[in-house]
Symmetry: C2
Subunit: 458 residues, 2 copies
């Protein structure tokens, strides 16, 4: 019998998250005046205990008991040897993955939704607002809020709200309130609806509505929550990589190549940062964040200061950006359609520690189907992007005969995204390419902003 | 930190299934002439190695290595302490469940789909046909066939095919071919379509088509597969209860009450039969199979000989039956809408070893939402029926102050059935009650068939 899974008991689950801010230098976020933004400026939006995590440079941060207790609903997640995939590819490479699709909402997102709900509750907050595009984040936050008895209101991009009714149903099952955005509940929403009554909505609009709904609650008991990009989100996700390190140690292995898809960057960071720590300290590892060719933030955009949202409500963040008003083509990986990239990941790319790759939509789905019919799991469209590079690297190893250890993150399952698989099989999916002119036009938005410094952490 | 899960390593997975036919007396299946049917009569429908399992009275049957290897994709499944549910109910009862929702298709069905695909492959079969109603079984068989490189053709009841497109997509993702039934591919299908071009289809029609498609393939390389009712299906599912026994032993517990939903009976048997063995040998346990009030096979129908399918293609089986032409009301638990019940379960009910219960649709969903918002998992509508009795028993324990150990099976998740939750929340779900007259009318179909004997196993 083949052994596939390396398990950890609940007792072996890590008790601290790893904070990469202890080990890299970062450009500070800036206000509209070009000066660094202090923590207090964020107080109307986030609870202070999360803001403290956002700016902390402590290397290790304790995971609260209450968060660990909820984590045990699905954690520790197994480290899986993809032996069926290896066999199908006839590769000498050993392929391992963390299976983050086993959480109730089906992705890695609850790793940060749960502590965010906990810290809000601990700070006395009674209601959290957020936005969601494809719905993975909104459903994860609804799940997390149900665990701590907090209300959850989710502004969902209207076109997704209409096209993905199951996501809305999931949020409702956990007691969350999901609203099509733009809505009439906020000034931002009403303004847009007045101008464009038939707008399909956008993530930018939804963020504006969610922030407005939070800061305009006069009781002071409402805050906003974000599922990616920010430092504290990356911090919470490191539970993935920290578990994986323990699991690799159990079997006496260590990855040569680490691969994850990256939209805002949360699942990638969570898996990779604990290994980045080793790379910073001299270990030889190749680490690849993977994005769609249709939204080439890391592979074709510059490292700049830009806003995290379309409405320019956030501070200016130092990151790779296609421009905050860029609207990516409609690829079926909603989680990867983001104009920017987490500042921490961006910093590591500037230093050459991470080497980004880009994959076309059709190559991603081809890889996803190969994995479905070998490993048995139907991966999320986002995850498929990582899989295309995994298979590419496994094929390289076959050519060279090297027994490379490849490690990737199965960031989520695709059961709620099966429509995109249908389209792939019926030939209705296509690739999108972007001209240099399109990108230059989109990037004009930040040409007069301050420029980040090129820092060297080591 | 709360400990929730009792894990087994892959090495600890049971190496044999438990066959209850070693421990109970059964009436034989009969042919249309009223005489017992021999194994050879089934040879055109099933491969001989599975027929041998169907009639075996060996207590323990080895699980092939190849099946164990595929089981490790999701097995062993965790035994979970439902501590959040216990707390919400303020019960002194300890509630445990096997989480069978973690398989790639999201239910317990692969426990038998995988060995069935394996044995067909070992017998030289290249193509398997089956029917599916709600789609859990069809998707599990497509998954299993993809693991062994066998073609899979699924006749899906037309109304479900139209209403549940995600299920069809799942089968396709695993390479299965899903066809709306009745179809023009079989004589049975064409005959029905000629008479009733707009028919929504039925499980009975789909079974007829699937059997015909198997036996009419002149190459002899096609067989039919059934996902419930038969002895070998119950056998394969016992991996659930056998794992659970090991897990309870690890924590020094043993269940006082065992609860599972039962349509054809496969998830219930799988969980319960290894414990039934103990009960037969003197252990005091209450064991409750739970069905919908709208399809009261065990609680209101007689123990008779009847056909397993509407078209009367199967042998006459000794079981509780509402009549093989009975069409249950459209409750949102497709897996529980079956007119009969597995002969093994039926036999154990006649002997008083199992005590069936019935639950209304609304009570089932109320319980499902309670579990969703405590344990975090959104259960399948079928599973919700078991949960209603779990909560009832936990509340009884609260009244009496007894620390009962309650064990149930989380037979599947409800992510593909979220429409039914939407209807529950919007008030569009209702209960169905059946009059005595309706049942008497339906049961006329078997009044002239032979009658089974009342046997006593102990």
């Amino acid at each position: 019998m083949e052994t596939r899974k390396v398990l950890l008991s609940e007792d072996e689950m890590p008790r601290q998250w790893y904070n990469i801010l202890a080990d890299i230098k970062m450009n500070p976020p800036l206000g509209p005046d070009g000066n660094p933004v202090g923590p207090e400026a964020l107080a109307p939006v986030f609870p202070m205990n999360l803001i403290e995590q956002e700016v902390s440079t402590d290397r290790w941060i304790d995971i609260p008991e209450e968060v660990l207790s909820v984590y045990t609903i699905w954690r520790p997640s197994p480290l899986v040897r993809a032996c069926s995939l290896e066999r199908a590819l006839e590769t000498p490479a050993k392929i391992y993955y963390k299976n983050e699709s086993l959480s109730p909402p089906g992705s890695h997102k609850p790793n940060t939704a749960v502590p965010q709900a906990y810290y809000n509750k601990a700070f006395g907050i009674e209601r959290i607002t957020t936005e969601t595009g494809a719905g993975q984040w909104g459903s994860a936050l609804a799940f997390a809020c149900s665990q701590f008895g907090i209300e959850c209101k989710i502004f969902m991009v209207r076109i997704s709200y209409d096209q993905k009714p199951y996501r809305k149903s999931m949020m409702q099952a956990w007691g969350g309130k999901c609203i099509a955005s733009p809505s009439t509940e906020t000034k931002a929403g009403r303004d847009i609806l007045e101008k464009y009554p038939d707008t399909p909505g956008s993530l930018g609009i939804s963020i504006s509505e969610a922030i407005e709904a939070a800061v305009s609650d006069e009781s002071g008991k409402t805050r906003y929550s974000l599922g990616s990009v920010l430092n504290h989100v990356m911090l919470h996700q490191t539970i993935i990589g920290l578990e994986a390190k323990k699991q690799f140690k159990k079997i006496g292995e260590y990855p040569d190549i680490i691969i994850g898809c990256a939209g805002g960057g949360s699942n990638f960071s969570g898996m990779a940062f604990p290994f980045v720590y080793d790379k910073i300290n001299g270990k030889e590892i190749e680490i690849y964040p993977v994005e769609p060719v249709a939204c080439p933030t890391m592979t074709r955009a510059p490292f700049v200061y830009d806003y995290g949202d379309t409405a320019a409500y956030t501070p200016l963040l130092p990151m790779y950006s296609l421009g905050h008003s860029f609207v990516p083509p409609p690829v079926h990986a909603g989680g990867l359609r983001y104009h920017g990239m987490a500042p921490t990941i961006s910093q590591l790319i500037t230093e050459g520690i991470l080497e980004p790759k880009a994959v076309t939509q059709l190559a991603a789905f081809e890889a996803g189907v190969t994995v479905t019919r070998t490993e048995g799991i139907i991966p999320a469209p986002e995850t498929n992007h990582a899989l295309a590079i995994v298979i590419e690297e496994a094929n390289k190893a076959k050519e060279t005969g090297e027994e490379k250890v490849i490690f990737f993150n199965m960031s989520g399952h695709g059961l709620i995204d099966l429509v995109s698989y249908d389209k792939y099989f019926s030939g209705d999916l296509r690739n999108y390419d972007l001209s240099d002119e399109e990108l230059i036009e989109a990037e004009k938005v930040f040409e007069n902003y301050p420029k980040p410094q090129l820092l060297k952490s080591r």
